[in-house]
Subunit: 197 residues, 2 copies
């Protein structure tokens, strides 16, 4: 991680980062100052600058924490020797778990608009992930496992529309996010309508 | 609409409002000033104040434009004498069309966090809409038309996670948003997996 100073305990930087992400989500990145952050944490600005070099630094670390989680899930799925539909299902499940685990970080990531170099880079990394999902849908359609009457890019976006909506409403639960991952997969693959089997 | 001065042509205020929504979405509401807006439009601040009384005024008009569209769709669906599953399907279709039609306005609405009285009011109106969707899912489950193993509030949120994701990626198309509404309904109700009929 950039900005971590040698010899400083990581948990202090983590506390600063967590508070920063919360403020960025509440007020917007542009409207948040290091002074706001100092006030929220009840510490001085100079204490904050012991842990991070700049507001940009905090934005980069926060976005990386979200993207690294999602990219790791994507890389594991990519390495799997299984039909595309199973890899897609696993990618949805893993993404739900990453969102639940890094909720405020992913919320920030999803609001990024490309207003600076850090944000533009994040958008590029997101586009690569999106393309991977679309590719999996295409493969699963070609294998005859997914219906072919929905455009693969649209299907991918709608699936991740469900996943990403967690950022808006997910509340941590005692039983974790696995039941929610089941619900997303069930809805995406089987739909909600009852059937006569 | 509040803030519309008598005798002034509406299209001028509309142009100011449209530009404001774009800036609010790009930079965030807090970080946008009336000066930024004047610069974006190539007019003076005082010309802007001929059309609107304040930045808050613009926020309220923009959010109302989004919410009024969604509430009108919900009211029409509510008045319909049809099974809950059909009302739900229609509500999804109509919501997709409202999003496509008022894309930047709904995008702004979806980013609102309750930072001021206007935003808090918008969140309250959104919660009422969400509750209506959940109620429709419950009714359709009770009628045996939707599977009952997914919590109604979760199903409602995931469905509107798909719908609301349009704000992130929808590009206006020559054939309109109806094919996309079909895709959302198809995915929500039937799922993506192929079946042996």
């Amino acid at each position: 991680m950039t900005g971590r100073r040698p010899g400083r305990p990581g948990h202090n930087q983590d506390a600063v980062l967590t508070a920063a992400v919360r403020l960025f989500n509440d007020k917007g990145y542009e409207a948040t100052s290091i002074s706001d952050l100092a006030e929220a944490l009840g510490i001085t600005k100079s204490t904050i600058y012991h842990h991070v070099t700049s507001k940009q630094d905090l934005l980069r670390m926060a976005i990386n924490h979200a993207l690294d989680g999602l990219q790791q899930a994507a890389a594991e799925v990519e390495a799997l020797d299984a039909p595309a539909i199973e890899r897609l299902e696993l990618l949805i499940r893993r993404s739900v778990l990453v969102l639940a685990d890094r909720l405020e970080f992913v919320t920030l990531l999803l609001r990024v608009r490309g207003n600076n170099a850090i944000e533009s880079n994040a958008l590029m990394r997101r586009r690569i992930l999106d393309a991977q999902v679309t590719e999996l849908v295409k493969e699963a359609q070609a294998a005859g496992d997914l219906r072919a009457d929905i455009d693969p890019a649209t299907a991918a976006r709608l699936m991740f529309g469900m996943v990403n909506s967690l950022a808006e409403w997910y509340q941590p639960r005692r039983d974790g996010a696995a039941p929610l991952a089941d619900a997303v997969v069930g809805m995406a693959f089987e739909g909600l309508r009852t059937r006569q089997e």
